[in-house]
Structure formats: structure tokens, C-alpha cells
């Protein structure tokens, strides 16, 4: 039996009426990768935050390396060799990598000497663990994958032996995720202990040694990964059998409901992000846009929905074409029957400091049912929010709770509920299942298929190729801002992969 790195005993934690953690026991073996899974709101992040000293448990004990530990603040955790990479990075955007790494651990008063020392230490870490990043590049210029590496370096620089990663792959492309896993393997070989939270059971199977499952604040099981299966884990998480495969019938496409013509979008520096794209989506079909993140999909969605100004292009939702170059008004597009689930729910789709009910009408707040003349109809707004909470099983079911206090997956459900319940003609969805648990993925996928079967036009963008393939009736592949190919859902992963990598259409077809 291996040594125990961390042992949690009887940890409980409540937020008001919500029992985020109830009497949790967990043992993590040293030198292993230990997965923690569970539905949205199961209490994973809360548990890890307790271990990292962000929250204090109401009850329970923590043992680190066999000794009882008092972890009241993150600095206590760091002193015990615990490091954490958060779901949302905590880097200073306009600082360099090096400055971010030493931030808060500067050492002496004289910055010069400590910077020099930090640089050589950082270089050693980068060499030892294959975590190459240029210490002098500025964070905001780095892609997310590299930013995450900086977070890991930060933890290692502080001498972490135990590394907690909260949903590290949610924001990564598959290739970046693979690279991350190689790094984690290497850290494990060096004797580090890793706790990995993720919703992707595939990742759990691929990389962990043990896996613990949480459900509604309790720890329901711990398994050796080698002795379990995706199906068993999904069932443990949700408490019932989960359909991991999407079930859908034939599409019956009707008239064209959404039609985009000659759309070109440039970013703030004038680089062309979307290059003369035209596409149609018919009633009763789901069109998926596949592509490696950063090939213009986000800008495409933003421009079509009027959130971002285009250089040229129009969108037609039945009736008059709407010019996207001027001040295309998202409110106007919404009134014409377009609903939009944005990729970035934190900054765009939700106002996190708002109460849940205030977000449940965001963008639709001009509708008469929410208003009494110029006044908000608070009763109606809350009743409407409660209805959606009920229908979409948003937890905790409290429409007065601050939106920031919902778990990531439940925040996503708030947005989905709002957009889908408007009965739109056209639904535009970006990354609908990012950070969402298997049960909720099943639910969201089912709802998207329902929307299709009700005769809506659905345009779906996702970096999850599996998701695109299982939901779409037609797949458009984007590369470098252009649509480089169209395929049916039967197209193989390899073929799509080649298109996504920019291999010419003809070659890919061979």
C-alpha cells in the first residue's frame, strides 16, 4: 500500500441552506493521479477550496503526509506543499510570465536579486518538467494552454508536491489537453501527487490511477480506474443510467431560416478572422461548425448575433436581410427570433453579480411580461425564473441567489434555459456543454435535438468534435476564417481532422 499524501476526514461545509459537502472522507495516495468527478454542483470545487484554504470546513479534519494539518489560508496550504490551478486562471494579464510566477513569493525586498534567482529556478522547472514558456512573454499574448502552464509553474515554484487542477481541460483544445496530460504523467513520475477534477470521463480513464465520485455533496465511491468503466462512473455520478450516445431520428429540413452572406470580420488589430463566409441553416436541422479553437468560429458567432461588428455581411432570418456592418442590434435580432447561447457565459451570457432571476431575463427584459410600464414586474420575473429552474433542474433552486455562487454547469443551464424557453426560430449555440457534467450534457443534447425536431434552425459551434459529429445533420469545417468543407454526420473523425488542420479539400477527400 502506497503512502497517503492527503486524508480528509468527515469534511462538511454549508453555504446557508446548501450542503455543499457532507461528511466527506477521501484518501489520496502519494505519487498518483487521483480523479474527482461529480455532477455540476456536487461540491468538487468546494472540497478542493477547503483543501487549499480558501474556505474553512464547518467540520472535519485534514491530514497531510500523515500529520493533522490546520489549513486556514492558501498560504498554509502552500507551506504544506499544496498547489492549485483554478478553473479560471488567476494571472495578471499585463505582467510577464516571470513576474506572475514570483508574484506573492518575491522573497527579499530587493526585486533584482530575487528576479535573477527566480529566473534560473523557473528555467530549471521548465527543463525538468517539459513546461516550456518564454519567461518574458506577456500573459495576455499567450494562448490559454500556455497560460495554464504558467499556473502550473506558479504552483511548482512555490514547492508544490501536491497539485490540484480544477477542470483544467475545459478551456483547452484536444491537442493542448494531450500535452497537459503528458506533463501530468511526468510530474507523477517525479513523485508528485495530482488531484484532477474533470467532467470528461475519457480523461479520467486515460490518465488517473484512482477516481472518486461525488454526488450532491457526498462522496459516493472511490474506484481503481483500471477496475471501472465509463458507464459505471456515469451511473455513480448521476445515480441512474446515462445515455452517453445521442439518440436522434432523421432530420426533416424545411425552408431556410438563417442565412448568412459574405461575412467578413476583423479583430481589433485588423487581422481577418472570418473571411467571406456564407452559410444557410434550414428549419429542422442542426448545422455544426467544427474547427480547432481560434479559427474564427467565435468571431463568426459574435458577428451573426450582432455582438461584434462585421466588415461586411448580412444575416437573414426570414424577411429583410440585416446588415451586420453597422450597429446591428442584438435586441433587434432577438426580436426577429434569434436566440444566442454565447461561448463565454461568464463575461457575455451572464452578469455574475446579478441574482439568478435577473439573469433569467437578460436580453429579453424588454418583453411586456417582465414589465409594468417602465417598472420591473418583480413577481413575474421571479415566477418565470423559478419555472425555468424547475424545468431545467438548476441547482440550488434559488432564484434569489447571486449567479456567481452557482456552480459552472448550473450557470450554463441558466443561459440555456433562458434562450431555449423563448421559443426562437433560430438558435445559435457556442460550446453548449463546456464545463457541464454528463447528466447535463445528456439533457442539453436532448433539448437541442428537441429544438431541431420542433422545426428550429440550430447553428452549433463546438471544439468537441464528438459533440459536433453526434448532433449535427451537416458539418461545416472552419479553418483560418474560411469554411473549407462540408460533410455529413457520417464523416470520419480522421477526415474532419484533416480538414480542420487545413489540408486541402481534395486531398482530404482521398
Amino acid at each position: 500500500m502506497a503512502e497517503t499524501a492527503i486524508e480528509l476526514k468527515g469534511i462538511s461545509k454549508s453555504f446557508g441552506a446548501v450542503h455543499a459537502n457532507r461528511n466527506i472522507d477521501l484518501k489520496i495516495e502519494a505519487g498518483t493521479i487521483h480523479g474527482v468527478i461529480g455532477e455540476n454542483g456536487a461540491g468538487k470545487s468546494t472540497l478542493m477550496s477547503i483543501l487549499y484554504g480558501f474556505y474553512q470546513a464547518d467540520r472535519g479534519r485534514i491530514h497531510v503526509g500523515g500529520k493533522k494539518a490546520a489549513i486556514n489560508t492558501p498560504s498554509d496550504a502552500i507551506a504544506l506543499g499544496i498547489g492549485m490551478v483554478h478553473q479560471h486562471f488567476m494571472l495578471v494579464q499585463n505582467f510577464s510570465v516571470l513576474e506572475n510566477v514570483i508574484l506573492g513569493a518575491e522573497g527579499e525586498a530587493l526585486l533584482n536579486t530575487s528576479i535573477a534567482r527566480a529566473r534560473s529556478e523557473l528555467e530549471r522547472l521548465e527543463r525538468d518538467y517539459g513546461l516550456e514558456v518564454d519567461p518574458d512573454s506577456i500573459i495576455e499574448d499567450l494562448p490559454v494552454g500556455l497560460q495554464q502552464r504558467v499556473e502550473i509553474l506558479k504552483a511548482l515554484y512555490r514547492g508544490a508536491d501536491i497539485l490540484i487542477l480544477d477542470e483544467p481541460t475545459g478551456v483547452l483544445t484536444p491537442a493542448e489537453a494531450d500535452h497537459l496530460f503528458r506533463i501530468l504523467e511526468q510530474l507523477k513520475e517525479e513523485g508528485k501527487t495530482i488531484i484532477l477534477i474533470t467532467h470528461k470521463l475519457r480523461e479520467i480513464m486515460a490518465i488517473t490511477d484512482n477516481v472518486s465520485v461525488m454526488r450532491q455533496g457526498t462522496m459516493v465511491a472511490t474506484r481503481r480506474t483500471a477496475e471501472t468503466s465509463v458507464e459505471e462512473l456515469a451511473e455513480l455520478m448521476v445515480g441512474r443510467r446515462v445515455l452517453l450516445q445521442v439518440e436522434k431520428g432523421e432530420a426533416k429540413p424545411g425552408e431556410v431560416l438563417l442565412s448568412v452572406r459574405n461575412l467578413t470580420v476583423k479583430d481589433s488589430r485588423g487581422v481577418t478572422m472570418v473571411d467571406n463566409v456564407s452559410l444557410d441553416v434550414r428549419a429542422g436541422e442542426i448545422v455544426g461548425i467544427a474547427g480547432v479553437a481560434g479559427n474564427g468560429q467565435s468571431q463568426l458567432l459574435d458577428a451573426i448575433t450582432g455582438v461584434r461588428r462585421a466588415v461586411s455581411g448580412t444575416v437573414t432570418l426570414g424577411g429583410e436581410p440585416v446588415d451586420l456592418t453597422g450597429a446591428a442590434d442584438p435586441a433587434d435580432l432577438r426580436a426577429r427570433g434569434m436566440a444566442h447561447v454565447p461561448e463565454d457565459r461568464h463575461h457575455v451570457g451572464l452578469v455574475l453579480p446579478f441574482e439568478e432571476n435577473e439573469n433569467a431575463m437578460l436580453g429579453y427584459h424588454r418583453q411586456a411580461k417582465y414589465l409594468n410600464g417602465p417598472f420591473l414586474n418583480i413577481e413575474a420575473i421571479r415566477a418565470d425564473a423559478r419555472e425555468k429552474i424547475e424545468k431545467y433542474d438548476i441547482r440550488p433552486p434559488d432564484c434569489r441567489l447571486k449567479t456567481a455562487n452557482f456552480s459552472g454547469g448550473n450557470q450554463q443551464k441558466i443561459v440555456l434555459a433562458r434562450e431555449m424557453e423563448q421559443d426562437p426560430k433560430v438558435l445559435i449555440v457556442g460550446q453548449p456543454t463546456r464545463g457541464v457534467d454528463v447528466g447535463a450534457i445528456e439533457f442539453i443534447h436532448k433539448r437541442l435535438i428537441d429544438m431541431r425536431d420542433q422545426g428550429k434552425a440550430v447553428l452549433l459551434v463546438s471544439v468537441e468534435l464528438d459533440e459536433i459529429r453526434s448532433l449535427s445533420d451537416r458539418i461545416l469545417v472552419m479553418f483560418a476564417g474560411r469554411v473549407v468543407g462540408e460533410r455529413g454526420p457520417e464523416a470520419s473523425e480522421g477526415e474532419l481532422g484533416l480538414l480542420m488542420a487545413g489540408v486541402e479539400e481534395k486531398e482530404a477527400a482521398e
Binding site: Q56, D58, Q87, L350, V351, E358, L362, R366, A404
Partner: protein, 379 residues
């Protein structure tokens, strides 16, 4: 992500922490008083006595508070849209022009209760107009509103001097001020309310605009939390990107918010101009626009916090004046220092004692120590 602060019970959050901050501010102020060789306890006694000791003093305190409620509300409304309106001073000054124009035109033909609503409109219109220009530049050109509103304070000051000296001053008069308003341009005093409560008052400028200030506080609450417009203002204040997504025009919401903010600042002029001096004179705002920033900070941009914060600053103004009078070593500037300390501890360093108080609460009863959002970057 929000700072990892534990949540405190509401009474500690809104009562205990501000009280501790105030106590510390006075402690440090006490040290300053000691430094100039006066007895801080006696100074404190004089200050409180001077602010609340007699009916007379209370009336003065409330008179000052009236102005601060208006300017505090003005700053707070802009805050909710994450705009920092530092131009309350200038907007109030120009608002005074609106009051004067109405009073000079109608004071001989209408009774005060007909002139009053017109003067309210005049004050609000002129204050809003003065806020419009910086708002327009912010919304259309991205010129930072902090800079432009500060500049507009100076422009307002020069403009008003020019108008008072060259246009509004009656021919032959010495002082740069308008003629005195007739009865129709004078607001009734509210001193009788205090007298009815058993206080005696010789003469004090406490007037009807105090009630208007309270009404404005209530209306601001309605606006921000109960109307569609307020919802959009808060939306843009928290997240411009989400507001764009929701189809709220950034240009429009910035301009409307600043118009409301400027109107509130302008209405402050009613209190001194129509309620007390009964004429428009130079520099009648005397810093109330800036105090409004402190009041809004201390009152957390909520009307229910702004009213008491404004009264507190009214006490500091009135009690401070008495203190400067009673203690020769303490000059007017010292009072400003004390006010500055209150702003420092209650506003800027608001969170200084929070972690330790939270730790204390956590150790007393672990269950009450929840925490701010851990997910997301809301804070």
C-alpha cells in the same frame, strides 16, 4: 474571482464594519488633535456637541446633509453604471443658475409653491446639461469621464463668475451675486419641525429641500432596483460585454445615466440658493460635490446608506465649524483632515478590517463563515 472573504451576517456587514472604520478614523484624527496640543476627548465632545447639542446645531447639520444627499445620490447613480462622476461640484454650480433663472423670472408673480417645482426642473435641467457634454464625449469618443468632469468643474466655475459679474449682477451692486429673491423665490424653513420636537432654534437654514432630498433618495432606489432602466444601468455597470449582448446601447445608457446624475447634482443647488441665501452667489457649492463622492462610497451607493452617510458628513461640517471656533489650534484645515480620514477609512480602506473580523466570526461560529463566489471572476 472575488477575494476570498467570508460572508458576514448582514448586521456586521452594514453596521459593525462601518462603525469600526469610523472609530478608527476618529482614533487617528484624535492623534492628529493631540499632535497640535489639544485634548482629543474635549475636541470630540465639542464636535458632537456642535453638531447635535442644540436644536440650532441639529438644524445646521441637516441643512448640510441635504446638500450631501443630493450630491451623494448623483455619484451613486453614476457608480451603478461604473461611471465615476467627479463633476458634481460643477453640475451643482450650474444647477444653481437654473434655480436663479426660475426664481428671478417668477418670484414676483407666483407663490413659492408654484416656483418650487419650476425651480426643481430648472436645477435638474441645468445640472443635466452640464453633465451631458462629458457624457457625450465618453460615449462617443471614449474620453475618460473622470478627466472631463474634473475639467468641467473648472469651466463651470469660470463661467459662473463671468455670468455673475457681467450678466446677473444688478447694476451698481458691489458683490458678484444676483439680487435677492422675493418671497416667491424663498423656500419655507423646516425649523418648526425641530421646534415641535422641543428644540429651540434662533435661525437656521434647514428648509423644505431636505424633504425633497429624502424623496429623491427613495426615487433613486426605485430607479436602480425597480425599473427597466435601472436594470440596464446596473447591467452595463457590472459587465459592458453582457450589456452589449443584451442589446443595451452603451452610448445611450452612458448618456442617460449621466443626465440623471447631473440632474441630481444640480438639484443640490435648491438647498443653498432657494432654501437659504435666496440669491445666487459665487462659490455657493463649497465642496459639496466632492463630499458627495465620499458619501456615495461610505453609503455603498445605496440610498439607505447615503442618507445616514450624508448626515454624518453634515455633522462633521457643522461640528467641525464649532470646533474650529472653540479651539484656536484647530483650524478649518484640520477639519478637512478629519473628514479626509473618515473618507480614507470608510471608503478607500473599507476592507482593511474585514479579514480579521471574518476570522473572528469564523472562530466564534464556523457556520456563519460562508464565502463570496469562488467560481467565476465576478468580483
Amino acid at each position: 474571482m472575488s477575494a476570498p472573504y467570508a460572508k458576514l451576517p448582514a448586521w456586521a456587514d452594514y453596521g459593525l464594519i462601518p462603525l469600526i472604520n469610523l472609530a478608527v478614523a476618529f482614533l487617528v484624527a484624535g492623534l492628529v488633535v493631540m499632535l497640535v496640543g489639544e485634548n482629543p476627548f474635549r475636541a470630540a465632545a465639542i464636535l458632537v456637541e456642535g453638531a447635535l447639542g442644540r436644536g440650532q446645531n441639529i438644524a445646521y447639520t441637516l441643512y448640510y446633509a441635504t446638500s450631501f444627499i443630493f450630491t451623494g445620490l448623483a455619484v451613486a447613480v453614476a457608480f451603478h453604471c461604473s461611471l465615476f462622476n467627479i463633476g458634481g461640484e460643477g453640475q451643482a454650480y450650474v444647477g444653481g443658475l437654473g434655480v436663479a433663472v426660475v426664481c428671478l423670472a417668477f418670484d414676483s408673480i407666483l407663490p413659492w409653491w408654484l416656483v418650487f417645482p419650476l425651480a426643481i426642473v430648472g436645477a435638474a435641467l441645468f445640472g443635466a446639461a452640464w453633465a451631458f457634454i462629458p457624457a457625450y464625449f465618453q460615449a462617443k469618443r471614449g474620453s475618460h469621464i473622470v478627466i472631463t468632469t474634473i475639467m468641467f468643474n473648472f469651466i463651470a466655475a469660470s463661467l459662473m463668475v463671468y455670468l455673475l459679474v457681467n450678466v446677473l449682477k444688478p447694476a451698481g451692486a458691489q458683490a458678484p451675486q444676483t439680487r435677492n429673491f422675493l418671497e416667491g423665490g424663498q423656500l419655507p424653513k423646516l425649523n418648526w419641525v425641530l421646534e415641535a420636537m422641543g428644540f429651540s432654534i434662533r435661525s437656521a437654514p434647514f428648509n423644505l429641500s431636505f424633504l425633497l432630498a429624502l424623496l429623491a433618495a427613495f426615487l433613486v432606489w426605485v430607479l436602480i432596483w425597480r425599473t427597466r432602466l435601472g436594470y440596464e444601468i446596473r447591467m452595463r455597470g457590472f459587465s459592458p460585454k453582457a450589456a452589449r449582448y443584451a442589446g443595451v446601447s452603451e452610448t445611450k445608457i452612458i448618456i442617460i445615466t449621466m443626465l440623471i446624475s447631473g440632474a441630481l447634482a444640480g438639484m443640490m443647488a435648491l438647498n443653498p440658493v432657494m432654501g437659504d441665501q435666496n440669491r445666487l452667489q459665487i462659490d455657493f457649492v463649497t465642496g459639496a460635490g466632492f463630499v458627495g463622492i465620499a458619501v456615495a462610497l461610505m453609503g455603498r451607493s445605496h440610498p439607505a446608506g447615503i442618507v445616514p452617510a450624508a448626515i454624518l458628513f453634515g455633522m462633521l461640517y457643522q461640528g467641525g465649524a464649532e470646533l474650529a471656533f472653540e479651539m484656536p489650534n484647530i483650524s478649518r484645515d484640520m477639519i478637512v483632515i478629519i473628514q479626509g480620514l473618515v473618507i480614507l477609512f470608510a471608503g478607500a480602506l473599507e476592507h482593511m478590517f474585514r479579514p480579521s473580523i471574518q476570522a473572528l466570526f469564523a472562530s466564534l461560529s464556523p457556520r456563519s463563515a460562508g464565502i463570496e463566489a469562488q467560481q467565476g471572476e465576478g468580483g
